[in-house]
């Protein structure tokens, strides 16, 4: 799903990722590590929002720097702050916006929006102003906007950071559900990380461990205890 070889990313003059070599094929992968360790930069380069400065990267068989359009069709991104992802006035309009690049007929667009809203339990809120929703509902809407395009890969950057335990659980359940997509989730929530199949541990812009989630999270917890 994601292959990178000696990947490096610089933001201005500052290197944020260097020497990252990974081959991620697990259906669900958690990316963990301290603040500033390079997790979010990794998510952004995978989602095609940041260009790499060196190395090779393939996401779902696509080079993000060479074919951004193909990447957008296959990869969806969910950010921690849902307010930044909600740009249309109503819930249904915001979900429909994600389908705009597909240039569907209105009836088909409405049908897909209905199905997606139903899946995320948002049907009753379809005509509500999106920015009046609770934090949990907003993040569900952000997920709905990402999933409505049926992506092959969902990249989620700390999707539960602003949520209470109940809503974090609901969002995690949706992300981890087996609906044909792969997931890369950047998270500080080690309980969520443990629910993934695989995990990658970043430190100072480098990968220091990768493998089964239980092993990697265990190694991180052991490092935290020192």
């Amino acid at each position: 799903m994601i292959r990178c070889d000696d990947l490096a990313v610089r933001l201005g003059d500052r290197p944020v990722l260097h020497g990252v070599t990974l081959d991620l094929d697990a259906r669900t992968t958690a990316v963990i590590g301290d603040n500033g360790s390079g997790k979010s930069s990794f998510a952004r380069v995978v989602a095609g929002l940041v260009r790499r400065s060196a190395g090779e990267l393939s996401v779902c068989g696509v080079d993000p720097d060479r074919d951004a359009t193909a990447l957008r069709r296959r990869v969806a991104l969910v950010l921690s702050n849902p307010d930044a992802q909600i740009v249309m006035p109503t819930v249904s309009d915001d979900v429909a916006l994600s389908l705009k690049p597909l240039r569907l007929a209105r009836a088909e667009r409405d049908r897909r929006v209905c199905i997606a809203l139903e899946r995320f339990g948002l049907s009753a809120l379809a005509d509500r102003p999106a920015h009046d929703l609770s934090g949990g509902q907003k993040q569900l809407l952000a997920l709905c906007g990402a999933f409505v395009r049926a992506p092959d890969l969902v990249v989620a950057d700390e999707p539960t950071a602003y949520l209470d335990a109940r809503n974090a659980r609901i969002v995690a359940d949706h992300l981890l559900a087996e609906t044909g997509h792969a997931l890369v989730v950047v998270t500080h929530d080690l309980a969520l990380a443990r629910r993934c199949e695989g995990a990658v541990l970043f430190d100072d812009g480098r990968v220091v461990a990768s493998g089964a989630a239980a092993d990697v999270v265990g190694a991180y917890e052991a490092a935290l205890a020192c």
Binding site: V75, L79, L97
Partner: protein, 202 residues
Amino acid sequence: MLSLSRPGTGWLHRMPTGPKLVALSLATIALAALPSSWASVPVALGAAAILYAVAGMGAVAGVRELGRQVWGLRWLLAVTAAGQLLFLGSEAAAANTARVAAALLVVGLVPLTTPVAAMLDALERGLRVLRPVGVDPARAALLWTVALTTIPVLARLAAEVRDAQRARGLRPSFVRGAVPFLVVALRHADDVGDALAARGIR
């Protein structure tokens, strides 16, 4: 515009956005052309009320929505009426204020009966004529919508900046809050840009 469309299946809801805009624009022009006499007051307000009642939101809901819209316009109408009364007398003040109120109420039916997605499509179609001069209709229409929907977010960010000042024992002030507000607003703009790019929106 942020009051958003009301659900409904009436004729105005079903009407395509372009013809609806033309029809309601003509109605607005007709209202604006009414003479400045006492007789225009019931004609203008009655026409607006009838349009709300038959718009397909249901008669009761339509009249309730009319009341909500009038309440939203109260200060504008008060200032208009006061200025006209001062310079033009009672008859002209009543007629002109009624015409302004009716025109705004009729225009208000467009966002009330049209989903934003349909408005966006119509705006995009309308802007196509500007393509030869370098305007990207899709981008311009989206910019307009994002600008509108960002207003409540910016208001919340401003409130958070004020709260942060209070939490540090400072009295909130426009000057002291301007820079932090600008920083969080620009960061929000960056995030929105990233989110749009990730959704395949240029």
